[in-house]
């Protein structure tokens, strides 16, 4: 087994671990926003690591995989940002122990104080 095969397999395994942690976070986190951040950050890293492992394993695919990685890097945070904002707009509540709601402070007309109600 060549060295780059071993490295690629290890990177893919590491990516799979992060993807698993992301899935675990989606199940375990208390509210939608926390779940979403587990499902975004961990899966983005997991995807990138898996793709990097694939690129090491098959060096001739590297360019295409780079394009895919760039696409994941743009779309994954973007889509979950849009989802989280839409959920906030629809009034999905925060979990009990939340300290602050920066988006509500931002959107309130006073600009600095949280909206009442």
């Amino acid at each position: 087994m060549a060295a780059h095969h071993l490295a690629g397999a290890l990177l893919t395994l590491l990516g799979a671990l992060f993807l698993f942690l992301g899935a675990l976070g989606i199940v375990r986190m208390p509210d939608l926003y926390n779940r979403m951040q587990a499902g975004t950050k961990a899966t983005t890293l997991g995807n990138i690591l898996t793709l990097a492992g694939l690129a090491l394993y098959h060096p001739s695919w590297a360019l295409k995989i780079g394009v895919i990685a760039l696409f994941v890097l743009v779309t994954n945070p973007l889509s979950s940002h849009a989802l989280a904002r839409a959920a906030h707009g629809a009034g999905v509540p925060l979990t009990e122990g939340s300290v602050s709601d920066a988006l509500a402070e931002d959107l309130s007309p006073e600009g600095g104080e949280a909206v009442e109600s």
């Binding site: 696409f71 743009v74 779309t75 973007l78 940002h81 849009a82 904002r85 707009g89």
Partner: protein, 234 residues
């Protein structure tokens, strides 16, 4: 009760279709399929046999399919038409992050869709796939840029012209080669596996791609607009 019925219906369907599985795994049952598999490449010089079947052998059916899509978009447009003086999109602006991301992504999504239908005769995919990819890019733009209006006139022109072009290519085949949507004898077939090959197939698939993209974009834009406020009269 309803759930039990649903599961029961699924089981009955599974039982009915179970007989088809061994049939599907056996290649070459039927003269037409055998003909396509053996003569398809020599007839049309397209390396994607599926495209040869969809656009050439079954080109008339595809014309009907495109017409069905056009009629459904027209129906949606009639039912959900906008009344005068109503707000077009939701007044809540999209966040700057979504704006920037949409600007960044829209070009590449458009490019991907165009690539898919321009290379329809060479690689998997074609007009329908590329058109729907383009429509999903337009959806991203509609969601992100609520201050801009999507020009329905432009889309309607694009859609009508490409539909007209499709029928025109078919009529040219009828006049020059003797059958509607004929491929042989209309344009040179060229060399196998080149971009400029397979006669009229790439032209038709590009037209289908433009038509499907314009139609689905129009459909999404009509549906996503805010409905008329109360008092508009239904």
């Amino acid at each position: 009760m309803k759930q039990v019925l649903a599961i029961l219906a699924l089981l009955v369907l599974a039982f009915l279709f179970a007989g088809l599985v061994p049939m599907a795994s056996k290649p070459g049952n039927g003269a037409v399929g055998d003909y396509y598999a053996t003569h398809g490449i020599a007839d049309n010089r397209g390396s994607n046999l599926v495209t040869s079947i969809v656009v050439n052998y079954r080109g008339l059916d595809t014309l009907g399919e495109v017409t069905v899509l056009f009629l459904s978009v027209m129906g949606v447009g009639f039912i959900l038409r906008r009344r005068e003086g109503t707000p077009k999109y939701s007044p809540v602006p999209a966040s700057p992050i979504l704006n920037t991301g949409a600007n960044l992504l829209f070009g590449s999504i458009l490019l991907l869709g165009a690539y898919i239908f321009v290379h329809g005769h060479l690689t998997p995919g074609g007009g329908f796939q590329g058109g729907s990819v383009i429509a999903s890019g337009v959806l991203l733009l509609i969601l992100a840029r609520r201050d801009r209006e999507l020009s329905h006139d432009l889309l309607a022109w694009l859609e009508s012209l490409s539909g007209f072009g499709y029928a025109l290519v078919g009529l040219v085949g009828l006049v020059v080669a003797g059958s509607f949507l004929a491929n042989k004898g209309v344009l040179p077939l060229g060399t196998w596996n080149r971009l400029f090959s397979a006669g009229v197939i790439p032209i038709i698939y590009i037209l289908i791609g433009l038509k499907v993209g314009a139609e689905l974009s129009t459909l999404l834009d009509i549906m996503i607009r805010e409905p008329a406020p109360e008092g508009g009269g239904h």
